[in-house]
């Protein structure tokens, strides 16, 4: 039984792999011409909380299109695996959410279709160039940006006060503040270094002027260990070496416990982190103690996006025109933002929606105007960042190489091995890569 049970598990894995691959022969359906008043039924998959309410609001707002919502796990829990396999096997949804880092991979595999003939150009033109750039590949638009979440740092104001420091505006001040918090209370840290979250490292590198993926003629230029990124890595390594930040995985039970008990008193996050932070600290009576701020800078008033989702139409959709109507509703209609309710603190990409979002989210949990901080950080976002053809190769490799940070490994070494793994992995896919 012992062996059998485990052997069967192995066999099941092989079977699953084979079944998934077996379906990949299906060809893409060609999008039909957009109708003036499309009708029909659609399916919609997303991992973003509250999207069920948005779907309901859409169904109530009109009679032509009926959308069925299905919640899927988020990326780290297999959401993209589910999407990729479903789309390959022809059973994928009409509309799904893709984070900006993941979108190129789905564009490259032909899983999502171009929107330029489906969504009015004047709607797409409303987006800022920076956001638009994240969903545009070879002059075609593949996603409707939902949120454009800038890097935002959160601090316990009372802990900063006790340490006698202000909200840090530069990374030097951040280091000094971290030192002051440690001195004021030896069991407390200003923030933690989240080695499980390569996306935040990417955002910090972006802020410092790094360029992990670039297009150089007909090849990808990979620069994960470029000069700016290495500077960021060395900065954090110094903070770790001097025990100024606590090395711990974010979104873990340990992290939540430390936030609640006052061991970790700051978060390097994004606009969306506000909702999670509230959920994790509310039970510990920390209402009114947190402030949000634009991230510390290297002296040049720069910021970056951290995360963010766009919605796209998959190649499985038999009704792209109706799907495009729904896309527009979700990403640009004030009713959709209103309907999502207080579950999220999104900073939306489409202009004119953030006032509504700020009105829906209980921002009074925080001691300052968090949307003002979001605005400030958003305005500073550095132009020109692009995501590469397969973020997951880099993501897996960074997670692996960072796992020993704090126990012998270093952040700069992690970048170097992620660089090698990414170049190797992309070459194995047949892509042209330069370093």
């Amino acid at each position: 039984m012992n062996m059998r049970r485990r052997l069967l598990t192995g066999a099941a894995l092989i079977t699953a792999g084979a079944l998934l691959a077996g379906c990949s022969a299906n060809s893409a359906t060609t999008p039909s011409e957009p109708a003036a008043n499309p009708t029909g039924e659609l399916t919609f998959w997303s991992a973003i909380p509250g999207m069920d309410l948005v779907t309901e609001a859409f169904n109530e707002s009109q009679d032509d299109i009926t959308v069925t919502f299905e919640e899927i796990p988020n990326g780290p829990n297999g959401g993209y695996a589910k999407l990729a396999t479903a789309i390959e096997s022809g059973t994928g949804p009409d509309v799904a959410g893709f984070e900006y880092g993941q979108l190129p991979q789905f564009v490259g595999s032909g899983s999502v279709i171009a929107l330029d003939d489906l969504v009015p150009a004047e709607t797409l033109d409303e987006y800022s160039d920076q956001v638009r750039g994240l969903v545009t590949f070879e002059d075609a638009t593949y996603g409707m940006p939902y949120d454009a979440p800038p890097l935002v740092t959160y601090y316990r104001q009372d802990v900063l006060d006790a340490a006698g420091v202000d909200v840090p505006e530069t990374w030097d001040e951040f280091e000094a503040a971290a030192r002051a918090v440690r001195a004021a209370n030896p069991s407390a840290y200003l923030a933690s270094y989240n080695q499980n979250e390569p996306a935040v490292l990417a955002a910090l590198a972006w802020q410092a002027g790094g360029q992990w993926y670039g297009i150089d003629g007909d090849s990808w230029k990979i620069g994960i260990d470029d000069k700016a990124s290495t500077k960021v890595a060395e900065y954090w390594q110094r903070l770790i070496d001097e025990d100024l930040v606590k090395v711990q995985p974010s979104f873990s039970d340990e992290w939540t416990a430390d936030l609640g008990s006052g061991v970790t008193n700051g978060v390097i996050g994004a606009s969306w982190s506000a909702a999670g932070l509230k959920a994790r600290t509310e039970a510990s009576g920390q209402a009114g103690k947190w402030v949000a701020a634009a991230p510390p800078t290297w002296g040049d008033d720069a910021s970056a996006f951290y995360g963010g989702t766009s919605f796209a139409i998959t190649k499985n959709s038999e009704n792209p025109a109706a799907a495009a109507k729904f896309l527009e509703f979700v990403t640009t209609d004030p009713v959709a933002i209103e309907a999502r309710g207080e579950v999220g603190s999104a900073y939306l990409a489409y202009p004119g929606l953030n006032e509504i979002a700020a009105g829906v989210f209980p921002t009074d949990y925080f001691a300052n105007d968090i949307y003002a901080a979001f605005d400030e950080s958003y305005d500073r976002v550095v132009d020109g960042w692009a995501w590469g053809p397969n973020w997951d190769i880099t993501n897996t490799s960074l997670k692996d190489s960072m796992s020993t940070v704090g126990a012998g490994g270093t952040v700069p070494d992690g970048l170097t091995s992620a660089q090698q793994a990414t170049v190797e992995g992309l070459e194995q896919l047949g892509l042209t890569v330069t370093e």
Partner: protein
């Protein structure tokens, strides 16, 4: 044993059947067909498919936005998998794991089985049940429970130890392997106790009586008579355990959510999972699975050889 048709009341159907020679083969077929058809569908076909899959690769060109084409690459995927540091590193981890896990788990199982065999109380059944209970907990649940018990800040064990002056992080890079060994020992010892205890029941009582008459203590007869007599059972459990270790997935996969010390490619099975579902490289995942299956097959062959030897002895 096959029932002979002549033993049955002579019905028309039976009479008709009697005309066909070699009914034994036909009866055997009736019994074997369901098994083999399922075996082919659920085991052989996927393996064959995976082998086929592992010989191809999705190749894109340039920037990769022009779509992918599937090309035959021969053994390239196998070479890529075997030259992957993380994949080979996973086997290193499994080896270390075996070094810790097997002596502890089988040692404990043997001791418990001998103790169970030695006691003559009515509590025997109760003890059997208690020992087996952890195995009745599904592996995923067990891993979740232990992940909770290991996590600093929320674990009562960690905080109790800290209050007693012992600072220990069960989920740190160096401790996480022993922590997983602990979960596995908790989960599998009871199961192996049952196997070894069953083998002990088959030890001829007259030999034990003879030993007692010769003045051997319980301890002496346990070590010098019972243990050597159940060696075949012990060696089978040993090999089952080694094969089971190759398939390790659940415990580290669950713990990887609680600590970054367990990476997404920590053991070979996780490597295959990550290749298929995170890196979207099904051919490489297939190649890794085939390599694992080959190793497991080799070990299964060894198990069959050893256990049939044990029976004929």
């Amino acid at each position: 044993m096959t029932i002979r048709h002549s033993d049955r009341p002579p019905t028309a159907a039976a009479a008709a059947r009697r005309r066909i020679p070699g009914t034994g083969g036909r009866t055997a077929a009736i019994f074997l067909v369901p098994f083999f058809s399922l075996f082919v569908v659920a085991m052989i076909a996927p393996v064959v498919y995976a082998i086929g899959l592992s010989l191809f690769a999705q190749k894109r060109s340039g920037l990769g936005f022009g779509g992918a084409e599937t090309v035959f690459v021969g053994l390239e995927n196998y070479l890529n998998v075997l030259s992957s540091e993380t994949f080979v590193g996973g086997f290193g981890r499994l080896f270390l794991y075996c070094l810790m896990y097997i002596p502890i788990m089988l040692g404990l199982a043997l001791v418990f089985a001998l103790l169970l065999d030695a006691i003559v109380t009515k509590a025997k059944r109760a003890f059997q049940l208690f020992l087996f209970l952890p195995h009745a907990v599904p592996g995923v649940i067990a891993a979740l429970i232990w992940a909770y018990l290991y996590t600093p800040g929320i674990s009562p064990i960690v905080s109790t130890l800290a209050a007693g002056g012992i600072q220990i992080d069960f989920l740190s890079v160096h401790m996480v392997l022993p922590s997983i060994v602990n979960i596995a020992v908790w989960e599998w010892t009871g199961y192996n106790v049952i196997i070894l205890f069953t083998a002990l029941q088959a030890v001829p009582r007259d030999i034990l009586e003879a030993a007692r008459v010769d003045g051997a203590s319980e301890l002496r007869s346990a070590l010098s008579i019972k243990t050597p007599l159940i060696l075949p059972a012990l060696s089978v459990t040993l090999l089952f355990t080694v094969i089971g270790t190759l398939q390790m997935f659940t415990e580290p996969q669950i713990l990887s959510k609680a600590t970054t010390a367990v990476t997404s490619t920590w053991v070979p099975n996780m490597w295959a999972y990550d290749a298929a579902f995170n890196r979207n490289n099904l051919p490489q995942a297939a190649a890794a699975s085939i390599i694992l299956a080959l190793l497991a097959g080799l070990l299964s062959w060894a198990v069959t050889r050893l256990s049939s030897k044990g029976r004929t002895r």
